[in-house]
């Protein structure tokens, strides 16, 4: 049963998203690019390389998950343009606030595969150096990280730093109250933050027209009093140009921006999902034909920048990464059960020390530590 009397698919109402390179790999006429200009060929080649490497990683990790070697892996296949553009637009001092689907963003920012996969293979909840990479832990509760990004950006502003925060969100997450609060706090406080919403059209199984009744997610920006951009999320050139402009604006006191990248989740939500129950394979095929990497490839080949030699070099780099990703999975990470008690409080608590001793005794450690508390109290 639909709660809506009359349901209008958002796509019918939506304007055309901004793009700088079209589906066929041709540069869009400048008159249709608004205030944005096509990035240089060097920049686009670099983005292409990062997308190819990221996809190889994503495909490799999905395969490892199907082999049962990871607990789960939310794929970003087809969303590389959004992910890579967001990371490429970051300055070294900027912070990224990703979600569970944004592992390739971490990879592109320089996190080692073994550290990205620590959480998905169950070693610990999260496993990289946040301060070194300036990436927050991947958030699972939807939209919660957007508020953290606003807070960090506000702190940067209070300290008169130039650090900008970028947060990645999905379309479903924009229904959460925390997304609303983040957009509003950011606009009221003029926080140097950029919201990059990857509209991959599904929240697990629920399509966007069951999440909202407005034309686009970007339209919501008007209500908060910040600029909003509706962008072709499979055009890395447009995503990069729009995000970079938003970063510049944020860095120079211009406040937040909401950017929606229209894209598509080619894979299932995770390995435990069955997308045939809620979407047509013809739709998936249509979006496969709008592939962000193929589009840029056509442009770069036509520009003469993507020679066979360069392509071979990029493929080799991607295969090297896939090999090292497989390799890191063969190393058994040593997880010490007693570490469970190490990171709960800054200073040790007596009650936790008792529970730690209890577990240590169970593991064959200090037998004296297992003495029954009641028995002890009787002495």
């Amino acid at each position: 049963m639909s709660l809506k009397v009359e349901s209008t698919p958002n796509a019918v109402l939506a304007p055309l998203p901004l793009r700088l390179i079209d589906d066929r790999g041709n540069a869009v006429a400048e008159s249709e690019c608004g205030e944005f200009t096509l990035p240089s060929v060097d920049t686009l080649l670099s983005l292409y390389r990062q997308m190819v490497v990221a996809r190889r990683f994503d495909v490799q990790v999905t395969a490892l998950t199907r082999q049962g070697r990871l607990a789960t892996y939310p794929s970003a296949l087809g969303q590389e343009a959004c992910e890579i553009a967001a990371v490429a637009a970051l300055a070294p001092e900027d912070w990224l606030f990703p979600t569970y689907r944004d592992s390739i963003a971490l990879l592109t920012r320089g996190v080692e595969p073994k550290d990205i996969l620590a959480s998905f293979r169950g070693d610990w909840h999260s496993g990289y150096d946040y301060h070194e990479h300036r990436i927050a832990p991947q958030a699972t509760p939807l939209a919660t990280q957007a508020l953290h990004a606003v807070g960090l950006a506000t702190a940067s502003k209070l300290k008169r730093d130039t650090t900008v925060a970028v947060t990645l969100l999905g379309d479903g997450a924009t229904s959460e109250g925390d997304a609303h609060e983040a957009f509003n706090f950011a606009a009221v406080w003029q926080a140097p933050v950029v919201f990059v919403v990857q509209n991959n059209q599904f929240a697990i199984s629920v399509p966007l027209d069951k999440q909202m009744a407005c034309r686009t997610i970007a339209d919501k920006a008007i209500g908060y009093g910040m600029p909003g951009y509706y962008v072709d999320g499979n055009d890395v050139a447009a995503m990069y140009a729009v995000i970079s402009a938003a970063m510049d604006r944020a860095r120079t006191g211009g406040g937040p921006t909401l950017i929606e990248g229209l894209t598509y989740r080619i894979e299932a939500h995770t390995n435990s999902d069955d997308p045939t129950r809620y979407r047509d394979s013809a739709d998936v095929d249509l979006w496969r034909s709008r592939d962000p990497i193929e589009r840029l490839e056509k442009y770069l080949v036509a520009e003469g920048a993507l020679t066979d030699e360069v392509r071979a070099e990029i493929t080799a780099a991607a295969e090297d990464l896939a090999a090292s990703t497989r390799e890191c999975m063969t190393e058994q990470a040593v997880v010490d059960p007693l570490e469970l008690f190490e990171h709960v409080y800054s200073t040790p608590r007596a009650a936790l020390a008792e529970q730690r001793a209890f577990l240590a005794a169970e593991l064959g450690g200090d037998a004296a530590a297992s003495a029954d508390l009641t028995e002890k109290s009787a002495r």
Binding site: S126, Y130, H131, A136, A153, A155, A182, V344, A378
Partner: protein
């Protein structure tokens, strides 16, 4: 800078003043902000108004908008942005205005504030103080008198404290702000106007320690926040009836001070816990269970809970029937067999 360091570095001890708990809390925030430029304060109405209970009175004027600011009216937003600020090296002190209005922040507190250190293996710590005016006995309309401490105390990763008097209010808040762990700072609304003569900066017992406020030999009466005054009144009344009641102010709900409470219970052999929150699954249930587990063979009687009833907090005309009173506590103690 910790309070200890402050005292050691010779911060001038001010002349004694007659201060309410609200004023002591205000002084604690102010002194922390003077000593540490990374301390920032924000929340609903904490700016020019000085908070609905005036706990932040004058701070906006003294420190300016950069460090003291009114936030949009959204509790998840307040706590969520505090997390990001703490990640960037600030020490946010935020206010939830009223107990029952903290619930929109539940997810941010439970899923992030409490877990961040753990999920990042200690690489990110969140020195955040979340102040929550709580409990009843002020004739508040609905949603203004909840005792929500058990939700927080049941969450690993949080330190949960509740002062009962102005000296503790100052000292515990200074320590909470200096702590590298997130602290849920529960302020008993009905005690905001309690006064004491204090020469600031005052330092009382450290966080995580319960304190014996009044010695006794027959019963250990355990209370915190708003019910400490009730427990002390009970002890007075009990003495007149020939009952020697030891009153313990728990002060910190998480962690629980097993040592101080255990020593008292082993001496008296009897214990009762008093709180305003409902009984079922309440904080007193944990107190009764753990004190029994650890001291069973010293106990002459089961540990009693004298608490609010298992109902939503009542309207102003009915709250007197809900709140534990000395008479009700003494009546409960008289149900034990006294041989």
């Amino acid at each position: 800078m910790s309070l200890q360091q402050t005292l050691e570095t010779g911060t001038t001890v001010r002349a004694p003043e007659n201060l309410t708990m609200a004023a002591a809390l205000n002084a604690a925030i102010r002194d922390a902000m003077v000593d540490d430029p990374t301390v920032v304060l924000f929340g609903e109405d904490v700016g020019p108004l000085g908070g609905v209970f005036r706990v932040t009175d004058g701070l906006y004027a003294e420190f300016g908008e950069t460090r003291v600011s009114d936030s949009p009216l959204a509790e998840a937003g307040i706590v969520g942005t505090a997390i990001g600020m703490a990640m960037y090296g600030l020490r946010p002190v935020v206010e939830m205005q009223f107990d029952a209005f903290s619930y929109p922040a539940f997810q941010q507190i439970v899923s992030h504030v409490a877990k961040m250190r753990n999920r990042t293996r200690g690489k990110i710590e969140l020195p955040i103080v979340i102040r929550i005016p709580y409990a009843g006995d002020i004739g508040g309309v609905e949603h203004h008198s909840d005792s929500s401490e058990t939700y927080w105390a049941a969450t690993p990763g949080l330190t949960v404290v509740s002062p009962s008097n102005p000296a503790d209010a100052y000292s515990m808040l200074r320590e909470a702000i200096a702590s590298n762990d997130p602290v849920i700072f529960m302020e008993p609304k009905s005690r905001y106007w309690t006064k004491a003569e204090l020469a600031l900066p005052v330092q009382t017992a450290p966080l995580n320690r319960a304190v014996v406020l009044r010695e006794g030999t027959d019963v250990s009466l355990l209370a915190y926040g708003p019910t400490v005054k009730t427990a002390l009144a009970t002890a007075e009344q009990g003495e007149a009836e020939g009952l020697s009641i030891e009153v313990i102010d728990l002060r910190t709900l998480s962690p629980f001070d097993d040592e101080t409470v255990g020593a008292s219970v082993r001496k008296t052999g009897r214990a009762a816990v008093v709180h305003e929150a409902a009984q079922f699954g309440g904080y007193g249930a944990e107190v009764a269970a753990r004190v029994t587990e650890r001291n069973f063979f010293y106990l002459a009687a089961p540990i009693l809970r004298i608490t609010g009833f298992d109902i939503p907090y009542p309207s102003p005309k009915l709250e007197e029937y809900f709140l534990p009173t000395p008479d009700r506590i003494l009546a409960a103690l008289s149900t034990w067999e006294w041989s």
